[in-house]
């Protein structure tokens, strides 16, 4: 297995390199640019524009920009004052050495911008995934066991609704009901907060944190519960009709043991793959939930960077997201082989 992992990791390097070239080209070749907010005011003299282009590293040809983004410029002489003479070595180290550049908006390092928000997204989506699993798995199993029962039909209907409801609309409706309409009968205040991670200025309180999670988690998990429960139901239905399940029953094993030891564990295997593939969401964030519930996470950073053409931040989010996708695919394959003895590493 060690060899397999090493081989896959080595294969990931050229893949990431290709992805980085494609992402860099797509981001830079899209119409528009980061200086548009300046040019709107018309106060963009040629000198000012050239100065900003130099400060942002946009004055060089695209291939050179890519090499600097990748490998830095501390090994090459650069013109720092714009007089046309190379006067010192650059200071950029490049993403290969962990330097993702600085944000055009705040001039802060990209990794700092990401790190300020990543734990918040990790927190929100982690809890959402947990709740999703706790609800979707029992629903999926019961729907399969009690196929075409009232429970199954209800679950199926709700699942279709969950998948069909536009999540941004659902989020607003949740706020309207639980913040704008329903009040806490004791305090007289809104039943649940409209957004944010915690009450501003209040001391740490676990219940306060939980209250701030309820609505965004509900919005996020509705679609996921629908999807995962449907998937698990199909997977279970396939398995419970297989010969080895019939054999287990024929050997006199209890229905509970048959379902949970033999059927569920095997039905869970494809679900692990799905989970691993959804995991990178934790990095790129959940834009709608973060916008509607004022959640300070990666989704908003990604969105605002894209609209403002904040290339370094946008590329930082995208390339780390891409690396995570590749890594999670590898983990999914490993987990798959680990859980299913029929699959062998080759």
């Amino acid at each position: 297995m060690g060899q397999y992992i090493v081989r896959r990791l080595l294969q990931a390097i050229p893949m990431l390199l290709i992805v980085s070239i494609v992402l860099f080209a797509l981001v830079n070749l899209a119409p528009g640019g980061p200086l548009a907010q300046y040019t709107r005011s018309r106060r963009m003299t040629e000198e000012r524009r050239e100065s900003l282009m130099r400060q942002f590293g946009l004055d060089k040809p695209l291939p050179v920009q890519y090499i600097i983004w990748l490998a830095g410029n501390d090994w090459m002489e650069v013109d720092t004052d714009g007089d046309g003479v190379k006067d010192s070595y650059g200071t950029r180290k490049g993403i290969l050495r962990g330097d993702f550049g600085f944000s055009f908006k705040t001039r802060e390092p990209v990794l700092k911008e990401i790190w300020e928000r990543l734990p918040n997204t990790f927190y929100l989506l982690g809890i959402t995934m947990l709740i999703t699993g706790l609800i979707a798995i029992p629903i999926g199993i019961l729907s399969a066991i009690k196929q075409y029962s009232a429970f199954d039909i209800t679950a199926t209907t709700l699942s279709f609704m969950g998948q069909a409801i536009p999540d941004f609309w659902f989020g607003l409706i949740l706020i309207l009901i639980f913040y704008g309409t329903l009040n806490n009968p004791i305090t007289g205040k809104a039943l649940l907060p409209s957004g944010g991670m915690a009450t501003i200025g209040a001391d740490f309180d676990i219940w306060d944190r939980v209250k701030h999670l309820i609505l965004p988690v509900t919005m996020g998990m509705v679609g996921w519960v629908a999807w995962y429960s449907r998937f698990l139901r199909s997977s279970m239905l396939e398995i419970i009709n297989l010969d080895y399940i019939r054999t287990a029953r024929a050997k006199g094993q209890s229905e509970r043991k048959v379902l949970y030891k033999h059927a569920f564990r095997n039905a869970l295997i494809p679900l692990v793959t799905m989970f691993a593939l959804d995991f990178p969401y934790i990095f790129t964030g959940y834009v709608y939930a973060e916008l509607i519930f004022s959640w300070p996470g990666m989704g908003r950073l990604y969105y605002s960077s894209a609209t403002a053409r904040n290339y370094p931040v946008l590329l930082g989010v995208l390339i780390i997201g891409a690396a995570l996708v590749i890594l999670c695919n590898l983990l999914a394959d490993i987990a798959y082989a680990y859980l299913d003895p029929r699959v062998r590493f080759e």
Binding site: P31, S194, G201, F293
Partner: protein
């Protein structure tokens, strides 16, 4: 390893992941360092323990995280608002357009000898006297060194400001006297070191090595203003508390001001309705009017004068061309006809819900609004007649005019154009675009409607930008100038347009040269003469009509009923007088 063992390991890993998730979420997120040492304040002697007054706090809802504490970088437009909380400048402008000193003792003028112009060389000196009773929050005195330090840091960072090109030197006479020498009379000298973008930074505190763009003062400013930044949680909120060292006795009146980031407009409205916030910053028109109508503990406030004017820009040249005239927009009769067909009052009342005022000249704001340019009439028949006179008429009955003796197109060419708006404004502008397009369709102009995001509309030509490349026909967005004096704004539009390598002149038309030639005349200390020049410009612009001014969009805010003293202004940012705000319970 047994299968059961594998599952146990997997279960353990998943459990650890979720535990880590929750632990991360529960971690506190303080981001602002400890405030600098406070000056020693004598503790009051043992006094009867009165009940301390309840802490007053207000919440301002903003749509995005401000980038930092200065207004010269790419930001959200909110940098100035938070800057006013903690920073000061030499002079500011009140809501009526009058200058008032802030760090300075008075406004330098010709009359009080603060402004002196050499009649031969035109070199002009401005002498500023600073107050000697203003301190930073750490107890250090604010002085001339801080002003010079700020200016030099900005120059080193290549920050461009309106007066940057005209300043020859800054000379410190003593700790509280500064002489600024301009190479020529600078009309906007009062706000060279003031206005909404400019703040004075503390020389002893800001890390000059790091420089203006990246120094610590951008995120952890040392305050000389009414408040001190206590906490900044990125993308979530900023909390400001009273600056006990503030120079105005007894102010600010409110103990705590929180800027809460809420991106979604309707959520902001819900929070205001619940009474959980006091200011809805820049609400959309439909929300703004509901603050007035519903009366459920809210009200709205607008600026007495306006800054942003919705304009139609015509490309007088063919799409993407520098010389070839546009088929019909190059003819000023067509431009006048298109203006005549727009019912501005209906747009204001029915689409912008009354949040606007008709505007028809660039010089619509005091003190330069006395040129007597008459308001054009809305006249569809007149517009059609003018188009016919210009050689554009629908003779085949398909609803689209053809060229019949027009100036710049082939006979029979159809009158069609692309009409672009800025997507960032919101749906009201979309409705206005459709309304205008329908009116134009009634007089035979067929338009193709589209929207572009900011980063494309205003990007430079080599970035794929449309407007600066002249790759548009008609577009509509709002524009305006800060401060009182439009000289710098006119310079940007007309003078610079002539010099630029970009196709700016496409949308300033023939007027660019004429107006540009008059701009040099504005650099004088003779205010009467300047007024004459502005009126000459107004006449040229009215005649040539390079762009159509439609209406001003008001600076509007939703407020809670309990919040008093808020005075929105076109000349500065909402928080310009935050020290005067009060709350009534």
């Amino acid at each position: 390893m047994a299968r059961l063992g594998k599952y146990k390991i997997l279960t353990l890993m998943v459990t650890l992941f979720f535990v880590a998730t929750f632990v991360i979420g529960c971690a506190t997120q303080e981001t602002v360092d400890e405030p600098p040492d406070q000056p020693v304040v004598d503790e009051p002697a043992d006094e009867p323990a009165d009940e301390p007054p309840a802490k007053t706090s207000i919440t301002i809802l903003i749509y995005a995280n401000p980038a930092e504490f200065h207004g010269f970088n790419i930001g959200s437009g909110l940098e100035e608002a938070i800057g006013e909380m903690v920073m000061l400048s030499l002079a500011e402008i009140d809501p009526d357009g009058n200058f008032y000193p802030e760090l300075a003792t008075e406004i330098p003028t010709l009359e009080n000898g603060g402004v002196v112009m050499d009649e031969e060389t035109w070199v002009t000196t401005v002498t500023w006297h600073l107050r000697d009773d203003i301190y930073w929050e750490d107890g250090e005195q604010v002085n001339v060194d801080d002003v010079i330090f700020t200016w030099e840091a900005m120059q080193a960072a290549e920050v461009w400001t309106a007066s940057a090109d005209s300043i020859e030197s800054l000379e410190k006479v003593d700790d509280f006297t500064l002489i600024v020498t301009y190479a020529w009379p600078e009309p906007e000298y009062v706000t060279t070191f003031g206005g909404e973008n400019f703040f004075i930074y503390a020389e002893h505190f800001c890390d000059a090595e790091e420089g203006y763009w990246t120094w610590n003062c951008n995120s952890e400013p040392l305050s000389a203003g009414p408040y001190v930044l206590e906490e900044w949680v990125t993308d979530d909120h900023l909390t400001f508390v009273r600056n006990e060292n503030y120079y105005e006795e007894g102010k600010p009146y409110i103990d705590e001001v929180i800027f809460m980031v809420v991106p979604e407009e309707s959520v902001k409205r819900a929070i205001m309705d619940e009474g959980d916030a006091d200011v809805h910053y820049w609400p959309a028109e439909n929300h703004a009017i509901s603050y007035q109508e519903e009366g459920n503990g809210t009200k709205w406030a607008v600026s007495p004068t306006d800054r942003w004017v919705m304009k139609l820009f015509f490309n007088t040249k063919a799409w993407g061309e520098e010389e070839t005239p546009h088929a019909f927009l190059a003819d000023k009769r067509v431009r006048h006809a298109l203006r005549m067909a727009i019912d501005v009052d209906t747009i204001i009342e029915d689409i912008f819900l009354g949040f606007g005022k008709p505007v028809w000249t660039t010089f619509f704001r005091p003190p330069f609004n006395s040129c007597g340019i008459p308001r054009p009439e809305f006249d569809m028949a007149g517009a059609a007649a003018l188009l016919k006179e210009a050689g554009w008429e629908d003779t085949d009955g398909d609803g689209v005019n053809e060229c019949h003796g027009c100036l710049y197109a082939e006979e029979g060419d159809l009158m069609t154009a692309e009409y672009v708006i800025w997507s960032g404004y919101g749906e009201t502008l979309e409705f206005a675009q459709q309304f205008i397009a329908e009116a134009w369709a009634d007089i035979g102009l067929q338009t193709e409607l589209s929207m572009l995001e900011d980063a494309v509309l205003w990007a430079s030509p080599d970035e794929g930008g449309t407007e600066l490349a002249g790759k548009f026909e008609i577009d509509m967005w709002d524009s305006g100038y800060s401060g009182v004096d439009p000289t710098g704004w006119l310079w940007d539009y007309f003078y610079y347009a002539e010099e630029s390598e970009w196709n700016l002149a496409n949308w300033t038309g023939e007027a660019a040269e004429e107006v540009g030639a008059l701009i040099d005349e504005l650099y004088t200390v003779d205010e009467d003469y300047r007024m004459e020049v502005f009126c000459d410009m107004a006449l040229i612009l009215e005649e040539e009509l390079p762009y159509v001014e439609l209406f001003s969009t008001l600076e509007q805010f939703g407020l809670s009923d309990r919040l008093q003293g808020v005075k929105p202004t076109t000349f500065d940012i909402l928080t310009w007088n935050v020290a005067d705000w009060t709350v009534t319970e």
